[in-house]
Each structure stands twice: as structure tokens, then as C-alpha cells.
């Protein structure tokens, strides 16, 4: 199931919400767990089983720490979640890379034919972080299986993050079990849910249809301006797809008195590539920083470690060499910035932001194109006559301009999160929110699966 489905918004969410606040407080987490299993189980029983195995393994092996040698316990604890991730997500990529024979692939038919479990990269990272935090004695092993299951399964962050640490959620979950009268921020929750839904349909998915308009044509029918426009639509599609999910997740969390962190902090306003990764998918960046980069020595071997971490970032996003290349491309950008920081930092802000945005945008096609196609795409762009457009029209550029205005001109802390205590007469209006929700529901059939859905 997904946030942008009628079944979720009109049936599961209202039923869960009402039940959650009606039952005695000791049953609240049960309500969330059951709802999360329904939400996740809609993808099929096999994927639910894999998820349950990962949860129970993470829960059970946490008690090995302190009793077994540390390295052995860590290996045991992360082995099964990591193995499930490899078998479901990376097996095909590995076999393709080693050019395995068809007979070899036949041995793994079961894994190939089961649909990639939704959110497997997210929940694997969460369970692994829990094990490592217990190993590092940052947290105590959780004895309450229900609470631990609630942490792993809480449906707002289950499919596409943010990647939570147990320490972030533990107290909030405890509060749900022990506070008689809850004070949810329903207004903010509904506002974020409605805005996220509308942006998903009318910005992310609509941008996707404009991208497809060019993707359906052979390259030789595209002009340079067509390709540039396509890249701009890719930038819009990817960002607002992730952004919308995160905003909806935060809104849903607030409906149930759980505060989830902001995962995308206006990344296109970054002045440099390093700042971009402090704003883009923040919880993934911090996860890799804490559990990979620092453990490898951090700045001691900066270039090597950055290359490794970003190759992992690429692989995390998808099992393919194009994703690895995308990660390495960002590694090069970060290293480039590292080497030129004094000069880069002196650039006027609009130029630095524009440059970073442009560099980041040129990487997005790698999300969708194989390496060969990406090379051909860039090759065509470098040689084709730039200004003749055969594909996109004025309204496409007007639409992009409107998205650009929102992206670069408005501050989320004001119009979306009200962090400054401000009240926006439009976005905070109950009537506007109801209207947005209604429009989102009406047009939901146009919506596509979130890109992160099966990451």
C-alpha cells in the first residue's frame, strides 16, 4: 500500500486514527503495529514474512551483546537483515556483474520472482543501526518486543523513511504507552498530508509525464533545449517525489503524536555539494556518516572514504552500475568542493546555489538511464544544435518556472512547518487544506508509485 492510494487515505488511515484514540493506552502500539502490517502486507505475504524475520532477528540478537565477543555478535546481528537485503535487492546485479549462466540464475528463481520488498533498504538500515547502537552501548537492548516492532514497522516511515534510530523513537513510543490523554497536532498533520499529496500528484508525477514525453523519442529527435528541459523535469520529479513522501510521513506521524525528522531540508538551496548532502535525505547521510564514514577513519583518508561512502549511497539507491556511477559522481563533486572550498565559498550565493543545482541536476538522469544511454545522452547534448525545440512548449517552461519559484523563492520553515510561529493565510487555512485533500483524492488515479517505494 502507499500513501497516495484511496484505500490508505479513505479506509486504513481513518480507521487506524479512530481506533488508536479510542482503545486503552496499553493497546495503542498494537493498533499501530496491526495497521502497519496491513499497510505493508498489501504488497504480499512473502515480503511481510521477510520483514518479520528481519525484525525478530534484530530484536533477538541484541541480547547477544555483552555475552558474546563484540565482533562476533555484530556479525551475527547484521547477517540476516543484510542477507535478506542482498538476496532480494542485489542478487540480480551481482549475477549480472559476474555474468552468471542462466542455469545459475535458475537456482535463485524464488528470489527473482518475489517482488522486491518495499522499503527493504530502509528497514534494514534501521535494524542494523539498532544493533550497532546496542553494540556501542548507546542504547540498551529493548525488552519490549511490541515497542521494538512498533519502531521498525511504524507505517509513516516504513516504506521510504526517514531512517530512524531507535533512540529517536523510544521515548515517543513509551509516551504513547503511558500517557492517558494525548495531544496530537492534527491540524499540522492534515496540512502536511494534503500538501504532500498534492505536490506528489501535480508536481512530481506531472513532471514525470513531461520527462516521459522526451524519453519516448529517439535522441536524434531531441534538441539541446529539449534535453535541458528534460533534465529540469527530472530534477523536479525526483526531488518532489521524495519530498512529498517525507512531508506526508511527518504529517502522518503528527496525527499519531510521533514527531519524525525533516528528511529534505530545501537541498536545492545548497551552496555546495557537501551542503547538498547535509540537506538531501538527511537521515541517510547521517546514517552513513555515523556507521560507515567515521568507522573507516573519517577525514584521515578523506578521498578514499568519500569515494567508498558515495559508492554505497549509489548502491543503496539501486542495484545497478548507473546508481554506483551516480554515487561516484557525487563523490567527485564533494571532493571537488573539498579541494576548491576557499574559492567556492567566495562565490556570490546565487551563483554558488545555481552552480550546485546544475551539477546535481546533471546527475539525475543516471537514476533512470543505463551508463551507455547516459553517455549517449550527454554526447548528444554536447553536439546537437541547442536552441531549436521540437518537443516542449511554452506552458512546459511556465510550469517549470512556477516550480522554480516555489523551490527557490519560498522558505519551508514559514509556509510549511510554521517554525517561525508565522501563520500563512493560504496554507494554514482549513478550507484550503480540505480543498487540497479533495483535489488530491480526485486526481489520485493519476498518481504513480513513489520512487523510493522499493528502495
Amino acid at each position: 500500500m502507499n500513501f497516495n492510494s484511496l484505500e490508505f487515505l479513505v479506509l486504513l488511515l481513518p480507521i487506524t486514527f479512530v481506533t488508536f484514540y479510542v482503545v486503552p493506552m496499553r493497546l495503542r502500539l498494537w493498533v499501530l503495529v496491526v495497521a502497519s502490517f496491513v499497510f505493508y502486507g498489501a504488497s504480499g505475504p512473502e515480503v511481510l514474512l521477510a520483514f518479520l524475520i528481519a525484525i525478530l532477528w534484530g530484536y533477538g540478537t541484541a541480547f547477544l551483546f555483552g555475552r558474546w565477543p563484540r565482533a562476533g555478535a555484530i556479525t551475527i546481528a547484521i547477517s540476516v537483515p543484510a542477507l535478506l537485503l542482498i538476496m532480494f535487492k542485489y542478487l540480480g546485479f551481482i549475477l549480472d556483474t559476474v555474468q552468471a549462466q542462466p542455469e545459475t540464475r535458475d537456482h535463485f528463481w524464488l528470489f527473482f520472482s518475489i517482488v522486491l520488498p518495499a522499503g527493504i533498504s530502509f528497514y534494514t538500515f534501521e535494524i542494523v543501526s539498532y544493533s550497532l547502537d546496542v553494540a556501542d552501548k548507546k542504547i540498551q537492548p529493548e525488552r519490549d518486543l511490541l515497542r521494538f516492532t512498533s519502531f521498525a514497522t511504524f507505517f509513516p516511515h516504513l516504506i521510504a523513511g526517514p531512517i530512524m534510530r531507535y533512540a529517536d523513537l523510544r521515548q515517543q513510543l513509551q509516551a504513547l504507552q503511558s500517557t492517558q490523554v494525548l495531544k496530537p497536532n492534527i491540524v499540522s498533520g492534515l496540512k502536511l498530508l494534503s500538501i504532500g499529496l498534492v505536490f506528489k500528484i501535480f508536481v512530481a508525477d506531472f513532471s514525470g509525464t513531461r520527462v516521459a514525453k522526451a524519453s519516448d523519442l529517439p535522441l536524434d529527435q531531441l534538441s539541446g533545449i529539449d534535453q535541458i528541459t528534460q533534465i529540469a523535469f527530472w530534477s523536479s520529479q525526483i526531488y518532489y517525489d521524495f519530498w512529498a513522501y517525507s512531508v506526508m510521513a511527518i504529517g502522518l506521524g503528527r496525527l499519531f503524536c510521533i514527531e519524525l525528522p525533516v528528511n529534505f531540508r530545501e537541498p536545492y538551496l545548497s551552496r555546495d555539494p557537501r551542503e547538498f548532502w547535509q540537506r538531501w535525505h538527511v537521515t541517510l547521510s547521517y546514517w552513513l556518516r555515523d556507521y560507515v564514514y567515521i568507522r573507516m577513519g573519517g577525514r584521515e583518508s578523506y578521498v578514499r572514504n568519500i569515494l567508498i561512502v558515495f559508492a554505497l549511497v549509489g548502491l543503496w539507491h539501486g542495484a545497478g552500475w548507473n546508481f554506483v556511477a551516480w554515487g561516484l559522481y557525487h563523490a567527485l563533486l564533494v571532493i571537488l568542493y573539498h579541494l576548491t572550498a576557499p574559492a567556492w565559498d567566495r562565490l556570490p550565493r546565487p551563483i554558488a546555489v545555481g552552480m550546485t543545482f546544475t551539477l546535481v541536476s546533471f546527475g539525475w538522469p543516471l537514476f533512470f538511464l543505463s551508463l551507455e544511454k547516459y553517455a549517449a545522452f550527454l554526447g548528444h547534448l554536447a553536439t546537437v544544435a541547442p536552441w531549436h525545440t521540437s518537443l516542449y512548449r511554452v506552458y512546459d517552461w511556465l510550469y517549470l518556472a512556477a516550480i522554480g519559484l516555489v523551490t527557490f523563492g519560498l522558505r519551508e520553515r514559514n509556509w510549511l512547518y510554521n517554525e517561525t510561529g508565522s501563520h500563512n493565510p493560504v496554507t494554514d487555512s482549513s478550507i484550503v487544506t480540505a480543498f487540497l485533500m479533495f483535489v488530491g483524492l480526485l486526481f489520485i488515479s493519476l498518481s504513480r508509485t513513489f520512487i523510493y517505494f522499493r528502495f
Binding site: 484511496l6 484505500e7 479513505v10 479506509l11 484514540y21 493506552m25 504480499g44 512473502e46 540480480g92 542462466p102 528463481w109 524464488l110 527473482f112 520472482s113 518475489i114 517482488v115 522486491l116 492517558q180 490523554v181 494525548l182 495531544k183 496530537p184 497536532n185 492534527i186 491540524v187 492534515l190 519516448d216 523519442l217 482549513s430 478550507i431 487544506t433 480540505a434 480543498f435 485533500m437 479533495f438 483524492l441 480526485l442 486526481f443 489520485i444 488515479s445 493519476l446 508509485t449 517505494f453 522499493r454
Partner: protein, 390 residues
């Protein structure tokens, strides 16, 4: 228990009232829409060369035109059942141009096998199954990455789902009944909460008479100002203004034999090879689905045997490079291996000849001649033909 601050209470009250008002409006508007099912449209009464213009109909209405016809009128000798994939399968493939009394294409929206089974059960109860041959299309897996084969698309009206329930032998116990209830609710939600339903209920014009026309006799030129507008506006304004001779409005129009009119150059979509990229993340079939597919095929075949009508499944090709080893194709391969006694014409191998396609996933009239040749070779068509020329 929860506590809500006074400000939130006021906000929520306004929010709830506004949303309830808007949703009630959507329900009320959807009730305004004519069903296009009763009274039924009679395709047999159309003249050869005439078309039934479906522009501006909702997806449900468009399907209902054919469903109503299937319910009200006896089927011809051969009937094809499936979804838009076989839209261009016409009687001319049998060398009987638009002869609806011999062949009718009942394709409907995006029906999958479970929905086709219910559709057939419905018409079987009315004794309106084809007399000799039922052709059932299986969506080629690479067309929709395994979609529209066994997944359900909320396409059929609820009463058809319910009416086929008694005949549905698999439906015993609480779980299938819960699944049916879920399907009914979901079906209703998708019909009501749909922009198309709301928009069309405001702007829809034209009953059967206004929608039936002969393009060959269409001498009424659309006004010049109309052709200067963007395509979408042309179509909307044309429908609203009753301008029937606008070729763009004929997109998806139905011919006398139920097949779709081949689009003119104004609306023809480019032929795209490998139209569906077969992204692993969007795959609609998974392990174990081969059993479900086989089960559905056997159930449909059993309907034919129960009523003495031959059933042949067809798997049309998709315009693509050699992608036979895709996971979804392999799952269908395994399903077909489970039903050796069911007649299947599997043409997935005809994927590379562009002339056999009207679009990346829609086979052309030329392909259907090949299909009919194959049916003749197997003796399926000859055995049902009353015409010696066949």
C-alpha cells in the same frame, strides 16, 4: 483519548465540513452521469463504416456501452474478451469487414483474467455467450510489466462482481468474502473519487444518437479557431459544442464490430519499442502467481466447456527487442506449462515486426490476420464457420 485545543477544534470543524461538502458534491455529480448500459446500445444496428464516438465518456461508461450490449443482445459466433490490448481486433481479420453478427470484440478498459471470468459468467447467465468460440486475451506480460493479468483494476460495475458471486466456486469462507467486500468498496471509491467522473458529469454531452456517425460522410468542418487551440482544449470544446466532425474526437471510437477505429495522424501515438521499461520495482507479478494465472485460465475454460463453447486464449505480441527472459514472461511461461489442456495461441515471439503494431503494446489489424490464420490452421475457425469461404 485525546485532547484538542479550541483553535484546533474550530479548524477541524471547518476542515471536516468543507471536505464533507466537497465529497458529497462528488457523489451527487457522479449520480448524474448516465450509465450507457441501460438502455443498451445496439451495435448490430450500426451501418458499416459508422463509428460510436466514446470521447468524453468515463472509463466505466465506455466499458458499459459494451457490457450493456453483451447483456441485452445475443453474442455472435465468435467473441473476443480482453482489454485495450486487443482494441484493433476487428472482423476484417476474418475477411468479414465489420460483420458484427460473426465477430464482436468485447474488449473493455483494462480487464484482467479474474474480471474477464466474471464478465463471462455474467453473460453466460443471460445465455449470451458467443455461439462457437470465445477468444480470451491474456495481457502480454511485457506490455504492462505483468499488470492486467491477474491483478484487478476496479473496472467492472459492482453489480457484475456481485452477480457472478454465486457462480464463483472459489468464493467460500470468510477470507474470499472479505476480499470481495474490499474489492467492492475499492471499486466504488475509485469510481466516485475520480476527477474524470466529476468533470464529465459537468460537461458530458451526447447520447447514442449524437455519438454515432460516419466519418466518410462527415463534411461538417470544424471551425478554424478550434484547430488553433491546444489538442486537449480542442477535444473538450468539440465535445461540449457538439462538433462531431473533429477527427480528434474520434480517438478510441468503436466500430460496428466493437473494435477501435485506427487513429488518424492527428492522434496517432508514436511507435515505441520496449514501451514498458520493465522496472523491477514496478513488477506486477511475483512468485506463485503462475498458479493464480493457471487457475483463472482453467476457470474460464470451464465456463466454455459448461456452455459448449470452445475457449482459446491469445497472448498478443508487444513491440520490443528480445525480452522473453523477463521475469514476468517467465512467470507466464510457467503458468502456461501448468495448463497443457487449455488452448493457447502465444504470439509473444512476433515482437520485432513494426508493421504488426499500432503502438508499442497494441497489435495492429495486420497482426490479427496472422492470429486468424493460426486459428484456421488449428481448425478452430473453420470448425465454427458457416461460410465456406472461411
Amino acid at each position: 483519548m485525546l485532547t484538542i485545543e479550541p483553535f484546533q477544534r474550530r479548524w477541524l470543524l471547518t476542515f471536516g465540513a468543507t471536505l464533507a461538502l466537497l465529497l458529497s458534491g462528488a457523489v451527487a455529480l457522479s449520480l448524474r452521469l448516465p450509465s450507457f448500459r441501460e438502455p443498451a446500445f445496439n451495435f448490430y444496428a450500426m451501418q458499416p463504416g459508422q463509428i460510436f464516438n466514446v470521447y468524453g465518456l468515463t472509463r466505466r461508461q465506455e466499458g458499459s456501452v459494451k457490457l450493456g450490449f453483451a447483456e441485452a443482445y445475443p453474442a455472435p459466433e465468435i467473441g473476443a474478451y480482453g482489454n485495450h490490448i486487443i482494441a484493433f481486433f476487428g472482423a476484417d481479420a476474418f475477411d468479414r469487414p465489420e460483420e458484427a453478427e460473426y465477430f464482436f470484440n468485447y474488449y473493455y478498459a483494462n480487464l484482467s483474467l479474474p474480471e474477464i471470468r466474471r464478465y463471462l459468467l455474467r453473460v453466460a447467465r443471460l445465455n449470451h455467450l458467443p455461439k462457437k468460440l470465445i477468444l480470451v486475451q491474456v495481457t502480454p506480460p511485457n506490455a504492462d510489466n505483468g499488470g492486467a493479468i491477474i491483478d484487478r483494476g476496479n473496472e467492472l460495475p459492482p453489480d457484475v462482481l456481485l452477480s457472478s458471486r454465486e457462480d464463483d466456486r472459489g468464493l467460500v469462507g470468510p477470507l474470499p468474502l472479505m476480499a470481495l467486500s474490499w474489492e467492492l468498496i475499492s471499486n466504488w471509491l475509485h469510481e466516485i473519487l475520480n476527477y474524470n467522473t466529476v468533470v464529465m458529469s459537468l460537461f458530458q454531452r451526447g447520447g447514442y444518437e449524437e455519438r454515432t456517425l460516419s466519418p466518410a460522410n462527415c463534411h461538417e468542418n470544424p471551425p478554424a479557431w478550434l484547430s488553433r487551440l491546444p489538442v486537449m482544449l480542442q477535444s473538450r470544446l468539440g465535445t461540449y459544442g457538439g462538433l462531431r466532425c473533429v477527427p480528434r474526437l474520434w480517438s478510441g471510437a468503436l466500430r460496428r464490430d466493437g473494435s477501435q477505429l485506427v487513429a488518424g495522424p492527428e492522434t496517432r501515438t508514436p511507435l515505441v519499442q520496449n514501451e514498458n521499461a520493465l522496472k523491477e520495482t514496478e513488477r506486477a507479478l511475483r512468485a506463485g502467481d503462475e498458479q493464480k494465472i493457471a487457475h483463472e485460465m482453467q476457470a474460464i475454460d470451464a465456463i466454455g466447456r459448461r456452455y459448449g463453447v470452445k475457449v482459446v486464449f491469445i497472448v498478443p505480441p508487444v513491440y520490443e527487442t528480445d525480452r522473453h527472459d523477463s521475469v514476468v514472461n517467465q512467470i507466464l511461461d510457467r503458468a502456461l506449462a501448468l495448463v497443457p489442456d487449455v488452448a493457447v495461441v502465444d504470439h509473444r515471439n512476433l515482437h520485432s515486426d513494426a508493421s504488426l503494431f499500432e503502438g508499442g503494446i497494441h497489435a495492429s489489424a495486420q497482426y490479427y490476420r496472422i492470429l486468424v490464420e493460426e486459428l484456421r490452421r488449428r481448425g478452430v475457425v473453420n470448425s465454427v464457420s458457416r461460410n465456406q469461404n472461411d
